[in-house]
């Protein structure tokens, strides 16, 4: 794939005319998906696709586009030339863009991660027998994901990674569920079967008679997977500098009214884990780590070069949408073995579901509890709880009600596949809250 990208890049860049600036982005995947229901194959298939994105700037104007690539160089060069001509005819008709960013980055990088993945046709055989009689529903995804970027100033980046993930739910006959993800780059059959067996053991806890709790405020522990859902919300009306400037951010209060979160809460964009490429769509390379919230205070935001130009601030080479690509929350002091005892009496939430801002500007999030969530009394799990709706403000549960953070960080891989297989992961601990509002 890189050979194809390089050849298209060299040819198209050589055909640019005076005054034209061009950025090219390459994205693709060769993936195998196996959808599983009741530990049987529901759907199975492969997707083999690649796209080429264009960012053309001419005479203070900008237009972008993308095309599907076939993998055949002659055909793809023909498509690429056609797209460039279309963009040329469009760009002269557009209004001037005062905030456009020329693709001037000359940086280069090359990062290929090769793994050991099972052959596609062996996947049912290696996955399903180990499931036995358990009711397992989920998705297997494996294969190679590609990202590339080049520009007319000579910048060039390439990132390719092999990976697999089995994201699944185990379900009891009474419909209680446990969620887990087995992911990596080197397939290990023994390790997979041990991981699955451990999940099945956890499912046994769910066979206890469930407890229905009433709406109210509860001492609550939210495990890392649930915290990762909360942190994801900061990519939508959160840490974006443009969103704050345009009054569309939950963090506006921190910027404009000097409101603080708990000193226990620190949050960064941190590429050191290596899951996601450090370069953005303009080929700009972000710092390895940018601390966004430091001890409860807003210290930085994600700033794209476009936003930097508009508001006269310094870019930290965020993506154009200023969403998080490598979210990471700092660990605290609570040992894993002390979680239940420190919680005492309250609710233990392993996962959350379907979060949304119920009042973005006020920082209020609503969502559901899901999967292995328990009622805990005097430090002991008593029963799984019926799923509850929560509705609470980050200024409360990540503010004065954040009691302690676990010392263990967990990696929560993003198994999303809307725009192709995601490459990122959220690294975060669990959090213990003095109070959390369950409403329905």
């Amino acid at each position: 794939m890189e050979k194809l990208f390089k050849q298209i890049n060299q040819t198209i860049m050589a055909e640019l005319r005076d005054g034209e600036f061009l950025g090219l982005g390459f994205g693709g995947e060769q993936s195998t998906f196996t959808r599983i229901n009741a530990a049987k194959v529901r759907q199975i298939g492969n997707v083999d696709e690649a796209d080429l994105g264009f960012n053309l700037i001419f005479n203070g104007r900008r237009t972008t586009g993308s095309i599907s690539l076939s993998g055949d160089l002659d055909e793809d060069l023909s498509r690429a030339r056609g797209e460039l001509e279309r963009l040329r005819s469009e760009v002269v008709q557009l209004p001037e863009d005062p905030y456009l960013v020329l693709p001037e980055s000359k940086e280069t990088s090359h990062n290929e991660k090769h793994g050991n993945l099972p052959d596609a046709e062996t996947i049912p055989e290696i996955l399903l027998p180990a499931m036995g009689d358990v009711d397992l529903t989920g998705i297997w995804a494996s294969g190679r994901v590609f990202q590339g970027n080049a520009n007319s100033s000579g910048g060039y980046h390439w990132f390719a990674s092999d990976s697999f993930s089995l994201d699944y739910s185990l379900i009891t006959p009474s419909e209680k569920m446990v969620k887990a993800t087995y992911a990596g780059t080197e397939w290990d059959q023994v390790a997979y079967e041990a991981f699955l067996a451990d999940s099945i053991t956890k499912l046994e806890l769910m066979s206890l008679e469930p407890k229905k709790i009433e709406p109210g405020d509860y001492r609550t522990f939210i495990a890392s997977a649930g915290v990762s859902d909360i942190l994801s919300m900061f990519s939508w009306g959160g840490v974006s500098e443009a969103a704050i400037r345009q009054s569309e951010s939950c963090l506006g209060k921190m910027r404009n009214e000097n409101v603080k979160l708990s000193s226990l809460f620190s949050f960064s964009e941190d590429f050191s884990s290596g899951f996601a490429p450090q370069f953005n769509g303009n080929g700009e390379v972000a710092p390895e780590k940018t601390i966004l919230i430091d001890g409860g205070e807003l210290s930085n935001t994600l700033i794209s070069t476009r936003t930097a130009k508009e508001y006269g601030v310094e870019s930290n080479f965020a993506s154009e949408g200023e969403s998080m690509r490598a979210p990471s929350m700092a660990a605290g002091s609570l040992k894993e073995s002390d979680i239940l005892a420190t919680l005492g009496t309250g609710v233990y939430l392993s996962n959350l579901h379907y979060l949304n801002w119920s009042d973005m500007i006020g920082g209020r999030i609503t969502g559901m509890t899901r999967y292995a969530c328990f009622w805990v009394e005097a430090g002991k799990i008593v029963a799984p709880i019926e799923n509850m709706r929560f509705d609470d403000s980050i200024y409360s549960f990540l503010g004065e009600n954040l009691e302690v953070v676990t010392e263990k960080l967990q990696i929560n891989p993003d198994v999303g596949t809307y725009d192709g297989r995601e490459l990122s992961a959220i690294v975060c601990p669990g959090i213990l809250l003095k109070s959390f509002s369950l409403t329905l």
């Binding site: 759907q43 298939g45 690539l69 557009l94 055989e125 119920s358 009042d359």
Partner: protein, 476 residues
């Protein structure tokens, strides 16, 4: 490309083979505060090759469109189907892919190329100027999205279906700010005005008039009282009913969810297979239809991606659940009557059960009669927040704009209106239903579901609805 010729040349051993070619151009233009933010076009094309071997379907989606590429894809799909057939959840026969022959073209008056990029940009710039009705409006956005789709499906059983679409979505929004209060108003919710239509949607006089109103309402909300808290009557406008139908009816009735396919992602359903024909889903006023032929509605079509012909069907009749949202595969697995809704988001995804046009049929009440019947309540319009549990039971939704209803009259404007309830009791509390004059058609490009994930377009239409004794509350 000649799909028939390619299909006839494919040499694999399969009980059925289908090719679905899709080419889709999605244009998007966004102007913020009079300046261009985005002018982009995404052009995607590829072929989904599906095979049936030993009762197991398998697929290979490829962007390689030549004969050798598709032959290789078919061979790989056969290999996967064979390997998986030892572990099939359900053993399908060829009846899962009915023979389909026909075509569909979406209606439009003005073609996509009737507006040049410059002309459309100019209109959006004017729109942002109209949205800024005062200095309190701090951010304005105007966006236009056009989608041109060609799809061609051929199969070894003789199926041959061509469907072509032109779809247009638009939205205009204003954010107003004063002191510590910020309020946003859109044109009925983000891209809720999504239609199978042409560029006639961008009638300048209409667009600019709507923008002035949106800007004025954003400013009005700055000084509005907080929505009251309490249990009271709730009138929902059709642009919020779109979301209400989608989340608390549509997803709950998807048969693949009921069969458990989505339990690891979108979730299950409170509806069970044995509920069909028995469950009183809502009040007798509630009639829900799957209607693929509403003029200009966003998800109209003639055949689904499995080849099933699309027909209008009642899913809920007089409040009683009678039919599910399931294509042929789900109907064969469940034995429940379904509809032609086996759909894929594009060439690179396999079809699953999706909503298409799912509508609440109008009743007999006028808007005035409905408001006059309310002693104390809130009218809410334009969705801004949505969340529901994995069984489609406990939901909480928020709107942009509310009006108090006191003693049968609309009185004060209220900000941050929200409500929460549980699906079945909520629909059973539907006590008045607006007539045809209150019926409005909406759609959204953004329905997410499936593993691997798929975003697909859906349409929803509804009259004004009055619900009894709902838990209502305001903002932070």
């Amino acid at each position: 490309m000649d799909l028939h010729q390619i299909l006839s040349g494919i040499d694999v051993r399969a009980d059925w083979i289908g090719l679905r070619y899709v080419k889709e151009n999605t244009g998007f233009r966004l102007v913020r505060d009079g300046k261009p933010e985005a002018n982009t076009r995404e052009s995607k094309q590829g072929v989904m090759v599906e095979v049936l071997v030993n009762g197991q379907f398998a697929y290979y989606g490829t962007s390689r469109l030549d004969k050798p590429g598709i032959q290789a894809a078919a061979e790989r799909a056969v290999m996967l189907a064979t390997a998986a057939s030892k572990y099939s959840l359900h053993s399908f026969g060829v009846e899962a892919r009915p023979v389909a022959k026909g075509n569909y073209s979406s209606p439009f008056q003005t073609a996509a190329d009737a507006f040049s990029p410059g002309e459309l940009s100019e209109l959006l710039i004017k729109a942002t100027a109209e949205l800024k009705v005062s200095d309190k409006v701090v951010t304005t956005n105007a966006m236009a999205r056009t989608v041109e789709t060609e799809s061609h499906f051929v199969a070894s059983n003789g199926s041959d279906v061509e469907q072509n679409y032109l779809m247009v979505s638009a939205d205009y929004s204003a954010i107003a700010h004063e002191g510590s209060v910020t309020q946003k108003r859109t044109d009925g919710g983000l891209l809720a005005k999504s239609y199978q239509a042409g560029m006639e949607v961008f009638n300048e006089a209409d667009v600019l008039a709507r923008c002035r109103n949106i800007g004025a309402e954003a400013v009005e909300l700055l000084t509005a009282e907080e929505c009251p808290t309490g249990t009271m009557d709730l009138i929902l406008a059709p642009d919020q009913m779109m979301l209400q139908i989608h989340e608390s009816v549509g997803h709950a009735l998807e048969i693949d969810r009921i069969l458990g396919d989505e339990r690891n992602y979108a979730g299950w359903s409170f509806v069970r297979l044995e509920d069909f024909g028995k469950l009183q889903y809502g009040s007798p006023l509630m009639n829900i239809t799957f209607d693929p032929y509403v003029e200009n509605q966003f998800a109209s079509y003639a055949y689904d991606d499995g080849g099933l012909k699309a027909e209008k069907e009642f899913l809920i009749k007089d409040g009683l659940l009678i039919r599910g949202l399931g294509g042929m595969e789900s109907q064969l697995r469940s034995g429940i009557n379904g509809v032609a809704n086996f759909r894929a988001s594009s060439w690179n995804r396999a079809p699953i059960d999706r909503m298409a046009n799912l509508n609440l049929e109008p009743g007999n009440s006028t808007q005035d009669e409905m408001i006059a019947s309310v002693e104390k309540g809130v009218f809410m319009t334009s969705n801004r927040s949505w969340s529901i549990d994995d069984y489609r039971n406990k939901f909480q939704f928020g709107c942009e704009y509310g009006k108090l209803i006191e003693n049968g009259k609309l009185t004060k404007t209220v900000k941050n209106p929200n409500y929460r309830a549980i699906s079945n009791p909520f629909w059973r509390s539907l006590k008045m239903l607006g007539n045809k004059d209150t019926f409005e058609v909406y759609g959204t490009p953004f329905c997410g579901k499936g593993e691997p994930n798929q975003i697909i377009r859906v349409g929803h239409a509804s009259p004004l609805c009055l619900f009894d004794s709902v838990e209502i509350f305001g903002g932070a």
